[in-house]
Amino acid sequence: MKKFKIYNSVLIGITICLFAITSCSVEPTFYSQVVPETFYTSQEAVWERFNRPFTHWRWYIANNEPRWMLQELGTDEFCLPTRGSDWYNGALYQKFHHHEYTEDMAFIETGWTNFAMGVALAWDALEDLEKVNFDALGFAEGTRESMLNQQKALVASFYLDGLDFFGGVPLYTTTQSEVKGRSTDKETFDFIEKLLKEAIPNLPVKEELGGLENGSINRAAGAALLARLYFNAKSYIGEEKYSEAATICQDIINGKYGKYKLDTDWTNIFGFDNETSPEIIWSVPSENAKLETDGMYWSYMVPYNYKNYLGGLEGSGSNNGIGLIPSLDPTGKKYSYKLGGAYAKFNDNDIRKQLYVYEGAGKYRGMFIVGELVNPTNPNWTCTGSREYSGKTLVVRDQVAYFAKVGSAEYPTLESLPSTIATAEEASCVRVTKRSPRPNQSEKNRKFDPDVPVIRLAEIYYTLAECKMRAGDKDGAAELINTVRKRYFANGNDPDPVTGSKLDKYRMLDKWQLEFLAEGRRRTDLVRWDAYVTENWWDHKATNNTDLNRFPIHYSLIGANNLLKQNPGY
């Protein structure tokens, strides 16, 4: 039995060994993720944490389509017509044009979650930053306050959009809160006002005219947001606060909030080196191969083969959808609606009213895709059609109709062509290339170099102009608008300046449209003038249903938060 003893000792040894490889601990181990405790080791890290809500904001306002769609597609500026068999998609975009909003539309869901997530991310960043020891990391005095208040101002900007789209929304001051229901319009308004008033004095000031814009919220941006809130107070809470808006605008123009001035060349504002445009108050920075931001509408807007017009620009495929509400009917007669038809409203001498051409080295001209798409700098660079005009050079019209079918049994004559949101063809509607213009292939590495302006000084001029107009100072209003307009005409000779005597609701709306076309604000302007649901344009009939000034709350949001109440009328 001696043998067994040896065995036993060996066996016991083995058994112990086998047990020993097992640990009773069920603690997780981390590898490629960073936990907050080990993150804040440098100033850079603090800035990186600070920037998180801004990268969301960039995505929301300049890269993801819902916000732009909600602001533009139901208006007299843009439409996404059904082009032959393209862009029907269950009549989704036709519904936008007819204001047939329903609580199951995906854009409406994202319209809510995007602004709301922004609020959450900003408060979350603020709460994290509050715990950081700024002094220990060697930050300059005041950096902490500046950072915290920028987050506050950012929250206000998100809430401002929430109020604009939906009315009163749930108001949070922390991420450590219980889930809440909606506050009233007034409470939401007051909340935004309070946040901005607290933040503005602590925001950084732009001291250098034309200094680099890097996306942070300067004091003028905060003030402009407050001006926007007051300017639209009538729509939001039924109270007029135009004089408050005017005061802020005047202060901004006077330089109280930092150094800005109108740019003399409009292509500087949107162009390839626009981060130093003195007109920009707040923008989304963008740079080739770093943060590529295109202001969202390229792929939705430009014709299929438009990249060939730019010498075959890589990574510029597109889907030929959105275009301007047409100015002309199929026979070429101008529509008599007061609203819509933006292209025809541009003066023919307006330098913006020409075919977009990239001239090289960051220079370009024009902001439209219209007419025969042959690049004037190289006749071989043409945009051909892909559908009705397959293989032929595309001729983009300021009209919507099935011209390719004229002469068929269906449409024997031009006069028989219908012009509706449902009857467009490939070449219908003028397109806009205003934000984030693109270079030719030879300079492809400048693509996405243009920043996307979100607030610019011209808005302050126009806001002040409208406030003056509403206060009875029509000449003062006209002068402000003309100050901005000068730059669009050779030698500053505006052939059609605004005159105080003729300035009315419709002219004012036209001026807003010409200056801010495609910048994602049209719906707000129409609502402020009570025109959104009461006016006809092209194929759109007024619903006269004021409930439609606000969007419905998507049903899935109500499913996820049973305290949310639907907007009236939905």
């Binding site: 065995y7 936990v35 990186e48 998180r52 609020v119 959450a120 949070y172 996306g215």
Partner: protein, 1011 residues
């Protein structure tokens, strides 16, 4: 016989050397404290000893028969030696050198082995008894086995021969279809498809939550790593009283798979070779308009040709083959099973194929005079995949007047751009290269220490390691549509992923029969599981040379432009630790009791919520063992049982409980340089607790008429509390849009009935039939927190018509949530009912008008298998049926309406549905009864004993199988066997490449040789 004698000593010694080696390696590699070298030497010396020298003896003749005649191929051996032979066509075997006092061991598969003392005789007649499987069969129950008659919970056991052969498929699930009542398997039939398992209905709101798969005692196995020929048995633990011993991961049931291991062949090497060749055929394709019809109806541009896009994507030249070789040899103290295989599986679709190679080595050694048993096993498999099959939705959409080919183009394909709903799907598939390589490497060792002084006591330690790897190479040619649209010259991606699982389990077993008929079978031990995952991926674009594909990935211009992609990551280590115990007690095989307990902790939960207890209690009463039943001779066995158990679910990623910062996008630092922004990536829920399933099971097992009729019945009722689900949450306060929460509770109930019988049992002809039936229903009891409802099964663009499923308090699992169809108006537009029951035009509908209509859970699921044998001929037929359930026919909805664009439509759009003109609506107009009867397989085989013809081959079997023969149904879509697992099923989801694949019939010719 000389060759056999030669075998006697040397191989065995080498086996022992090998066992020692394994033993030592296991000790060194797995053990942080190395054994002393001297110890190892000692062991070495003591293990290796010679077997006793052979004695001279006499020659003995044995005639083996059963109750119908001679048994061919039975094994006759001198016990304790390798001296043996196999009976011939007359049932006779001759053995030389048999010692006077020897014992002969006569065995044959399917029969009870018999021992006979030689005691001076030279000729024996031995009659073998058929193993009446139902009673003495051993059932694997996890951490041990139990005789079937002692089982007190619901377990279904399947042996290898019950699996269908020749049905092909991407994994073994296709051979298991319809075998286990209550087990639903969803697999679309592609060569690369994965399988979704669901046992006894939905146990968790997490769709696709599958049973825990335990392969040879290793929990968390991957069923895709197995080869059907290597499987010995599959035991399915259905109820919680059985599964509770596996605790956390057993809420959806446990599937225990045991692979073949060597047996005592008296040293003879048994070799089996099997081969299958398969040809596949597509049937039941949707009937779309032809090119001419499309042109006639002026749907879109007429390009002049007539293309059947569906047919273009079918690989008519498909050919699949399979070769499997297994070798088995053993003595009393050392047994080995080893197998190698090669498989080539081509799907019915183009660009859907795989080649698998693999091998398995299972061994069992008894050393140290029976004190220690060591069972090393190694399993390796790799699958080279081309999983680039095209999207068949596109074959339905495409303009049939356009040709996929253009002889004038560089590639021969007609590639057009700028159309998202109509593109050359054939060219897309053929102008891209997909190379995938899956690998599974699984070494494992079990050490069983038999504490000999205490009979019945043993300790087992299992160490298992599994390494799963995935390599992926993908290239899109510069001529590919997307590359042309983006003006790029090619796109390349290389990806590598690795998952490592480590399991260590130790448990003591004590089996003791006490006087008076008390039997105790107790197990107690611990289990540790660890999972690590890591991976990296690179992508680059725009290459000068197309032909090099991904093999010079740095050369693309996107790298120098700063736009190439590069990523890597390592998952949070997941850990699971538990201690467990189970005891089975039986008294006179009449009164049975089982209790089990598992205390388990998981790293996935927040620190305070990691540990939980899972337990079960069950009992059985074998009525047939009672005195008063003795006179009822037609009842062999009758047992009632009842069980209750609690099992858990922690099925979510371990990253969800960690407060982590992740990078988002570049943003400018104050100095104008770019850096990534960082923010929270999860909504942490520190209160998240275990999902718990509590289940009652009532069962009855029966075996009647001398084992000719047998089966069982189970009724179960289960409640699942603390349902874990990732729900949409409001932002703010949450930073992310979803969070894992314990959202509520649900219940489900159902029954299962299994009946099998030897309908005919004669010498020449037998007919065996097995039928199983199952029924399940479930509902949501409560939803907690801020969630009132949760929608699912969203239908896609074009049209985005909405969601077809909703769960809320009181909702039934499987119900559709739709608008109620009310007819068509004069323009052919849909009319619907609103919530007041008024008819409204579809344009006025609101979400509130939807209602619960229909249900995709079949009232009855049935599997029926017949095995017939006439002399050497055998035949198997497998049938399956789902009765009384609804299927949403999305094909008719999206492709059965005219005028919705230039995409092609079904012929019925201009026939049966000619009257519909309006936009499609998600309503019950498209809901159909999906009841079907499916012939899963018909097999015809012929077995021939080769003894007569050659000494080299024992047995030959050839067979032919037709798989997925036909489906008899009134459903008008392509395939009524839609995915019914989870709460978003019941829909023919043509838009999902993972759900929509051509229906395939397979023709297989198989060959099996036993040497």
């Amino acid at each position: 016989m000389k060759t056999q004698q030669k075998f006697n000593t040397r191989p065995i010694r080498s086996f022992k050397m090998f066992s020692l080696l394994t033993f030592t390696i296991a000790g060194i590699t797995l053990c942080p404290y190395n054994l002393q070298a001297s110890d190892r030497n000692d062991t070495n010396k003591s293990i290796v000893h010679e077997t006793a020298p052979l004695q001279k003896g006499k020659t003995v003749t044995v005639t083996v028969s059963d109750n119908v005649g001679p048994v061919i191929g039975a094994n006759v051996a001198v016990k304790g030696t390798t001296n043996g032979n196999i009976t011939d066509i007359d049932g006779i075997a001759r053995l030389d050198n048999v010692p006077e006092n020897a014992t002969l061991l006569i065995s044959f598969v399917g029969y009870i082995s018999k021992e006979v003392s030689v005691a001076g005789q030279t000729s024996f007649n031995v009659q073998l008894q058929e193993d009446t499987k139902t009673l003495d069969e051993v059932v694997v129950i996890g951490y041990g086995t139990l005789e079937k008659k002692q089982v007190t919970s619901s377990v279904t056991s399947i042996s290898a021969k019950d699996l269908m052969t020749g049905v092909g498929g991407s994994d073994v699930s296709s051979a298991l279809q319809g075998r286990v009542s209550g087990l639903i398997m969803n697999n679309i039939g592609s060569a690369n498809a994965g399988t979704t398992f669901q046992l006894r209905g939905m146990t968790s709101i997490n769709s696709g939550k599958s049973p825990l798969i335990v392969i040879d005692g290793f929990p968390g196995g991957d069923i895709r790593s197995l080869s059907q020929d290597d499987i010995l048995t599959i035991d399915v633990l259905k109820d919680a009283s059985a599964g509770a011993i596996y605790g956390t991961r057993a809420a959806s049931g446990v599937i225990l798979i045991t692979t073949k291991s060597g047996s005592n062949t008296s040293g003879k090497v048994k070799m089996t070779y099997s081969s299958e060749m398969t040809k596949k055929q597509n049937y039941g394709a949707p009937e779309m308009l032809t090119g001419r019809e499309y042109a006639e109806h002026k749907i879109g541009t007429d390009y002049g040709t007539d293309t059947n896009w569906w047919k273009e994507l079918i690989n008519d030249d498909n050919f699949s083959q399979k070769h499997h070789l297994s070798l088995e040899a053993g003595t009393e103290n050392a047994q080995i099973y080893s197998s190698f295989f090669y498989e080539k599986n081509q799907g019915i679709s183009i660009k859907d194929e795989r080649q698998d190679y693999g091998g398995r080595f299972n061994a069992n050694f008894k050393v140290l005079d029976g004190w220690l048993e060591i069972r090393p096993s190694v399993d390796y498999r790799q699958a080279m995949r081309n999983n680039n099959y095209p999207n068949f939705q596109q074959a339905m959409r495409n303009n049939p007047t356009r040709s996929p080919y253009d002889p004038d183009s560089e590639t021969g394909y007609n590639v057009w751009t700028n159309e998202t709903l109509d593109y050359n799907v054939l060219a897309d598939a053929n102008l891209s290269t997909y190379e995938g390589l899956d690998k599974w490497f699984k070494p494992e060792a079990t050490f069983k220490l038999n504490i000999k002084p205490i009979p019945g006591l043993s300790f087992q330690q299992v160490i298992g390691y599994e390494n799963r790897q995935w390599e992926y190479h993908f290239y899109k040619s510069r001529y590919h549509r997307e590359e042309i649209e983006d003006r790029r010259r090619g796109a390349a991606t290389l990806t590598f992923d690795k998952t490592e699982n480590l399991t260590s389990e130790g448990f003591a077993t004590y089996i003791k029969e006490f006087d008076g008929g008390h039997v105790l079978n107790a197990v107690a031990g611990y289990s540790y599981f660890e999972k690590n995952g890591e991976g990296f991926s690179v992508s680059n674009y725009d290459f000068d040379v197309d032909g090099i594909k991904f093999w010079n990935i740095g050369a693309g211009s996107y790298l120098s432009d700063g736009k190439a992609g590069m990523s890597s990551g390592k998952d949070i280590t997941e850990r699971l630790f538990s201690v467990f115990a189970r005891a089975n007690y039986s008294y006179q095989n009449k009164y049975l009791l089982q209790a089990s307990l598992r205390h388990e902790g998981s790293s996935k939960f927040a620190a305070d919520n990691r540990w939980a207890d899972f337990w079960s209690l069950s009992g059985g009463w074998r009525i047939s063992g009672e005195k008063f039943m003795k006179n009822i001779s037609w009842i062999d066995d009758l047992k009632v049982r009842v069980g209750y158990g609690v099992t858990g679910n922690n099925d979510f990623s371990s990253s969800y409980m960690a407060d982590m910062l992740g990078s988002d996008a570049y943003w400018m630092l104050p100095d104008g340089t770019w850096a990534y922004s960082f923010g929270k990536t999860q909504n942490i829920n520190p209160n998240l607790g275990w999902e718990e399933k509590k289940e009652w099971n009532f069962g009855l097992d029966y075996s009647l008429f001398d084992g000719r009729l047998y089966g069982k019945f189970d009724y179960y009722r289960r409640k699942i509390d603390n349902l874990i689900y990732s729900v949409k949450v409001p932002q703010p306060p949450f930073t992310q849009g979803s969070q894992y929460q314990n959202i509520g509770s649900m219940e489900s109930k159902g029954w299962e009935f299994e009946i099998g019988g030897d309908i005919i049992r004669t010498k020449d002809f037998t007919w065996n039939s097995n039928l199983n039936l199952g029924h399940n229903s479930g509902k949501i009891l409560t939803l907690w927190g801020n969630n009132t409802y949760y929608n699912g099964n969203g239908f896609p663009a074009p049209g985005s018509p909405g969601d077809a499923a909703r769960i809320e308090e009181g909702s039934t699992i499987g119900a559709f949530y739709l608008w109620k169809f009310a007819g068509f108006d004069d323009d052919g537009k849909f009319l619907l009912y609103n919530k007041e029951g008024k008819i409204i035009p579809a344009s006025e509908k609101t979400e509130n008008d939807k209602q619960y209509i229909g249900n995709y859970t079949p009232k009855l699921i049935l599997g029926w298998r017949h095995t017939l044998q006439y002399k050497n001929l055998d035949m198997g037929i497998s049938l399956r049926s789902w009765i009384d359930f609804d299927v949403y026919n999305a094909l008719n909805m999206y492709f059965g309406i005219q005028g919705q664009g230039n995409t092609n439509v079904l012929k019925s759009a201009y026939g049966e549905f000619n009257h519909i003109k309006g936009e499609k609506q998600i309503c019950d107009y498209y809901l159909e009864d999906g009841t079907f009867l499916k012939i899963d397989a018909i097999t015809l085989g012929y077995t021939l004993s080769m003894k007569k013809y050659t000494k080299l081959i024992d047995r030959l079997r050839i067979y032919g199988t037709v798989g997925n023969v036909c489906t008899i149904t009134g459903y008008s879509g392509m395939n009524p066997q839609v995915n019914i697992t989870g709460w978003e099923g019941g829909t023919e989801k043509f838009w999902s490449r993972d759900d929509f694949y051509p229906t395939t019939r397979t023709y297989t010719l198989g060959l099996q040789l036993n040497f």
